[in-house]
Amino acid sequence: MSEPLLEVKDLRVRFHTEDGVVHAVDGISYSIEKGKTLGIVGESGSGKSVSSLTTLGLTRRFRASIDGQILFGGRDLVSMPEDQLRKIRGNDIAMIFQDPLSSLHPFYKVGKQLMEAVLIHRPVGRAAAHARAVELLELVGIPDPKTRVNQFPHEFSGGMRQRVMIAMALANEPKLLIADEPTTALDVTVQAQILALLQDLQQRLGMAIIIITHDLGVVAEISDDIAVMYAGRIVERADTESIFTRPQHPYTWGLLKSIPLLTSPRDEELVPIAGRPPSLINRPSGCFFHPRCPYVREEHKRVDPRLAPVPDSPGHSVACLLSPGVRTQIWQGLEAGRQPEELRHEYVEAPAVPAGAGVAAPGVAASGAGVASSGAAVTGVATTEVTTTDGADAGQEDES
């Protein structure tokens, strides 16, 4: 494998607010290689934007504690002084944002904003910068660029504006483009165009792209790898194909099952994820996802799972206390159209689980993967698997 372009190592970002400490990003690690695309998926409040803003040092002005490392070309961006980091922003690493109308300055012509992006990093003179601006507009597929370069952002349509933003980001041929919800504000047909554009540019310019979204459909198209984030953590990471064919985390299942597909049977109900994202100040005990997980067990409320590799799936890790075998079975059930309650009843509360399909071997789990569960594995599988909440017996779940 080649040297990663950007490597995020155990990044933690905490904001100190009047209401308490917000754990926006709680120990995430990922990396991306040159020319590849990484998709980061999650709900609002999952910390996906914060992690990329932190990459560019744009969270420094808030009262934030930033720990960990972000290595770019061997240099750590977290500890880099501001003036050096500024040289990288808009230059080696560029970022585009969600709403291009509010993200472009309404009072300056588009050409001027593009020229500024160029001139701030290269003193080439106005005429050259202007020419470059026109060239950039052409690059992103805006017709009649010579006229349009003198227009204001509000004179462009939504899709065109996002192209302008992309043009601005590309002004200095960045090695990495971070796209934060680039298509969320656009309608579906335009979405497709923008995604196609990004792919095209990536091929031509050889740049890496991190695309951040809540929409799995978007990343399905263009990502090589996907990281699913929840409550500031990465809960599952794999290449795109694995995520879509062999997802291992209940949250990921929820995301996948809530996408309406043209090919689904008409009477098949969507399966939403119940509840709301947790508070990042007072996070749930144990597994962060447990209040919303249909397959929760008593133990999950106490034990905090860590990312662990998934057997038989290279490059695939997940943070979940259910055993891989159970997870696979549940997913197959979901794919077949069965309901979570059914599946829970069948797999999560079943008295006997075949040995080998249970808890992963303690040694293989990533750092500190729930000592208690490994302990339970040693004492007896039965004990771990049978636990239900508050004494209500196995005999009483037909109420669904």
């Binding site: 040289k87 990288i88 970022m95 944002f97 509010s102 300055h105 009072f107 500024e116 601005m168």
Partner: protein, 320 residues
């Protein structure tokens, strides 16, 4: 744009006519004084009052008086003669104009030079001790009545009656052309007093606009482009935050051109505001009418200029 301006100018004329009618009616319908009686002195014989009334044209019906007045204004730009001083109103206003302009321009420069930087610094360092101090101080400056502030300023700093002899005191105004040094010295304290509350207001306004603007998405974009913070604030944030300031500035200048009555009174500056005040005291309708129209004209024109400027500053507004 040209048609828009022409349409607005026509409205200016209509507005001024309405203002003149209202002023006229207020003067006659509310119990003010009888100008003929005021001129005639005590226990005059009745024919004297009648004669004065006739010479002032007060014995004609209201609409005739109004018509004669407006004819004079529109055709000859003649605003009549003051009842009190028997001098042409236009000449009196024109004579007072330089003082009012001097007062206004100087105050504007001072309040922009002090208020804007204060607003910017407070916005950048918002919620720090510095910010709270400046905003608290500005609240005081806005709350202090101008007349009181003028008196206090004189009692503290005037070189004739003040505790510390720094500035020229009241009643020292001379024209710019006759004695530039004295002109400047006599206006320093009035400028400071007049500018005080405006400066505070503009500082607060800019601070809040800037804080709002700084949280806009395009500021984040600017930073993401790698711009130094100085440029982000100076070019991107200020460009947006300054627009309401320009609007308010235009209106304030327009209003002040009608005369800053209180400051002119305390410092005895012979401006248009003082003239208006004297006119009201003396029930001198031509003066009242003239200064009101004059003031209204400036305010209306200021509104127009501000609207045009706003379209220039904010391109989104242009094509509506």
């Amino acid at each position: 744009m040209g048609r828009y301006i022409i349409r607005r100018l026509l409205w200016v004329i209509v507005l001024l006519i309405i203002v003149s009618i209202v002023t006229f009616l207020i003067f006659y319908l509310l119990p003010s004084a009888d100008p003929a009686a005021l001129r005639a002195g005590r226990s005059p014989n009745q024919q004297l009052i009648a004669a004065i009334r006739h010479s002032l044209g007060l014995d004609k019906p209201l609409y005739v008086q109004y018509w004669r007045y407006m004819k004079g204004v529109i055709l000859h730009f003649d605003f009549g003669y003051s009842y009190e001083y028997s001098q042409p109103v236009r000449a009196m206003i024109v004579q007072r104009l330089p003082a009012t302009i001097s007062l206004t321009v100087g105050a504007v420069i001072i309040w922009l030079a002090t208020g804007l930087p204060t607003g910017i610094i407070s916005a950048i360092r918002s919620r720090t001790l510095l910010d709270r101090t400046t905003m608290g101080g500005s609240l005081l400056a806005i709350s202090a009545p101008v007349y009181w502030l003028g008196l206090v300023a004189l009692y503290l700093f005037a070189n004739d009656i003040g505790k510390v002899h720094i500035f020229d005191g009241a009643n020292t105004y001379t024209g710019l052309t006759s004695n530039p040094g004295r002109w400047f010295g006599s206006l320093l304290l009035p400028w400071l007093v007049l500018a005080a509350s405006f400066s505070a207001f503009y500082a607060r306004l800019l601070r809040s606009n800037l804080i709002d603007t700084m949280s806009e998405d395009y500021i984040r974009t600017a930073r993401a482009k790698g711009l130094p913070e100085r440029r982000v604030i100076g070019r991107h944030a200020m460009r947006s935050a300054i627009t309401p300031i320009v609007t308010v500035l235009g209106l304030d200048i327009g209003t002040l051109m009608g005369g800053a009555i209180l400051v002119e009174t305390v410092f005895n500056i012979p401006g248009v505001g003082r003239l208006a005040y004297d006119g009201i005291q003396n029930a001198d309708l031509p003066i009242i009418q003239g200064t009101v129209l004059f003031g209204a004209f400036f305010i209306v024109i200021a509104n127009l200029i501000v609207d045009i400027a706003y379209a220039y500053l904010d391109p989104r507004v242009r094509y509506s």
